[in-house]
């Protein structure tokens, strides 16, 4: 690990100001950052510990009937919160499908959103990676890219975002509330947080230096049944090959409305407007669910080892929709 200075922030303004300096990074749970620091993939000069910021670990009900989740709430705390379990079971299910309890006890809401890819070539410092070393190339493009993305990526980077939590939040229309070093507060829809890799895959979000995610806002829970389904190589403690978050409302023999978001298919949780349009008013049958899957994946492109993700995503969507609407 490269040497660094460590500061414990005692307020949001001080934290943002400190973290705006070049080479500075926020640290909360540290479960991703410290791992990357050991490998010298991350080499911060200053760590600003935001673990004890006031109110960062509070979940509160909002006037509009939703929840405001402090960015410092742990993944365990969020998944175990009874309001989340009753009103947003999708979110509890998604969080509980990720990592181990030890990691969820440390990992925070904000940190989970900003965790970095698990692309094996990002982790292998002997290989080119445009995300880790801009301009060096992408070893995954023609490499063992089984875990990589099939949607929305570029020939410069095919890394997938590994979060489960963020997939549920995307289906739930979450917004992030951030604070900038100048004190400005803004709300960012979760879908707008992540930047497409294009030819600058090392720039992953729209956040400015020192801009801190303060909380995540969930609007009132949507109508319909919420189901998160994760497909992985083993039954527990593994990253997803594909995951699907569905909120679907049935009306008689039809789907009144549905929301669909995929995990591990792209650089961000992939909300599919195409699948949602295909499902609106459609018959509640496997034929409709297959059509939604075809619509969702129509622009997908495999890179060899990950070709299987495209049919797997379609079938996982079909099964998850069938579960959600009771077919």
């Amino acid at each position: 690990m490269k040497p660094f200075r460590y500061e414990r922030a005692n307020g949001v303004a001080a934290a943002c100001a400190a973290a705006a300096a070049p080479g500075a990074r926020f640290i909360a749970g540290g479960t991703n950052l410290i791992d990357l620091m050991k490998l010298q993939i991350e080499t911060p000069e200053l760590l600003v510990d935001i673990g004890l910021l006031p109110l960062a670990d509070i979940i509160e009900s909002t006037a509009e009937g939703g929840l405001r989740i402090g960015a410092g709430v742990t993944n365990s705390g969020l998944a175990a919160d009874m309001r989340v379990r009753r009103l947003y079971p999708l979110l509890s299910q998604a969080i509980l499908a990720g990592a181990s309890t030890q990691l969820r006890n440390k990992a925070t809401t904000g940190g989970n959103l900003l965790q970095r890819t698990r692309c094996p070539y990002f982790y292998d410092t002997t290989k080119p990676c445009n995300k880790r070393a801009p301009g060096s190339g992408c070893a995954a493009l023609h490499g063992i890219n089984r875990m990589n993305a099939v949607m929305g990526v570029s020939d410069d980077c095919i890394a997938a975002h590994p979060s489960d939590m963020a997939v549920a939040m995307t289906a739930l229309d979450a917004r992030l509330e951030t604070v900038a070093p100048d004190g400005a507060i803004r709300a960012i829809p979760i879908d707008a947080l992540y930047r497409a890799p294009g030819n600058t895959p090392h720039i992953e979000t729209v956040l400015a230096p020192g801009e801190l995610i303060r909380s995540v806002l969930l609007p009132p829970p949507p109508q319909g049944r919420q189901v998160y389904r994760k497909v992985r190589d083993r039954a527990s403690f593994a990253f997803a090959l594909v995951s699907v978050a569905v909120v679907a409302e049935r009306e008689g023999d039809r789907v009144r409305a549905a929301r669909v978001a995929f995990g591990s298919l792209s650089y961000k949780p992939w909300r599919s407007a195409e699948a949602e349009a295909s499902l609106e008013g459609a018959s509640a049958t496997r034929t409709s669910f297959d059509a939604a899957g075809i619509a969702a994946l129509k622009n997908a492109r495999g890179y060899g080892h990950n070709d299987f993700k495209i049919p797997l995503a379609r079938r996982t969507l079909r099964a998850t929709l069938a579960d959600a609407v009771g077919v």
């Binding site: 660094f4 379990r85 509890s92």
Partner: protein
């Protein structure tokens, strides 16, 4: 939950610390990192106050020191094991403020003021913790390397279950699930046992949960 873990008074730690109150151990400590040895002497250290197994301690540490290395290399608490050192195996599991974490993926400086319980801190007045005794009784180990992490994890697991936490295998996350073997297995998935003593580990945890012999 905190009290259950933190307020023990283990005998075993007396092997390491002879005196009461806050003890400064920095000068007696070996460098924590093999790969940082050359630079250690010139690096600024930070003073960290930790509460480990109900004992308050002050350490001067390179900020890079993980909690795991602070426990093993600076405090001599070698019960906590270093397996993968990247959060995958669970051998380094300790209990911090009542919750189990991977001590390899956190910095000691981040834990100033926290209550840390290691496997050494589970012993009470020389008696094994009920979970330790159950692992012995059920033969929940072979080589034993993962065992301290398994036991710390299992102790915290019971507290989490008592608090009503759901898991990935809970059919309805809005309910408080019974601690079935499937629930135990899922909740222990952060602790790997290469000898594959899993059936007996699950049996030991089930036994303690059902109020088996202590």
């Amino acid at each position: 939950m905190e009290r259950e873990f933190a307020l023990r008074s283990p005998i075993s730690r007396r092997r390491f610390f002879g005196t009461a109150g806050v003890t400064t151990l920095a000068l007696a400590s070996p460098p924590a990192f093999a790969d940082a040895t050359a630079q250690t002497s010139s690096l600024p250290t930070v003073n960290v106050r930790l509460t480990v197994n109900a004992r308050q301690l002050a350490l001067d540490l390179d900020p890079r020191t993980t909690l795991l290395d602070a426990l093993r290399e600076h405090l001599g608490l070698t019960g906590t094991k270093k397996g993968c050192d990247q959060g995958q195996c669970g051998a380094c599991t300790v209990i911090v403020n009542g919750q189990r974490i991977n001590s390899c993926l956190t910095l000691a400086v981040m834990h100033a003021g926290d209550e840390i319980t290691t496997i050494e801190g589970l012993v009470e007045d020389g008696d094994l913790h009920p979970m330790q005794a159950a692992f012995v009784r059920h033969d929940g180990l072979q080589c034993g390397y993962c065992t301290p992490g398994q036991i710390c994890s299992a102790v915290a697991l019971l507290a989490e279950h008592k608090a009503g936490w759901p898991s990935h295998v809970t059919a309805d996350v809005a309910t408080r699930p019974a601690l079935t073997d499937a629930e135990i297995a899922e909740r222990m998935s952060g602790n790997i046992c290469r000898c594959s003593a899993y059936p007996n580990i699950v049996a030991a945890i089930r036994d303690v949960n059902e109020g088996g012999r202590a």
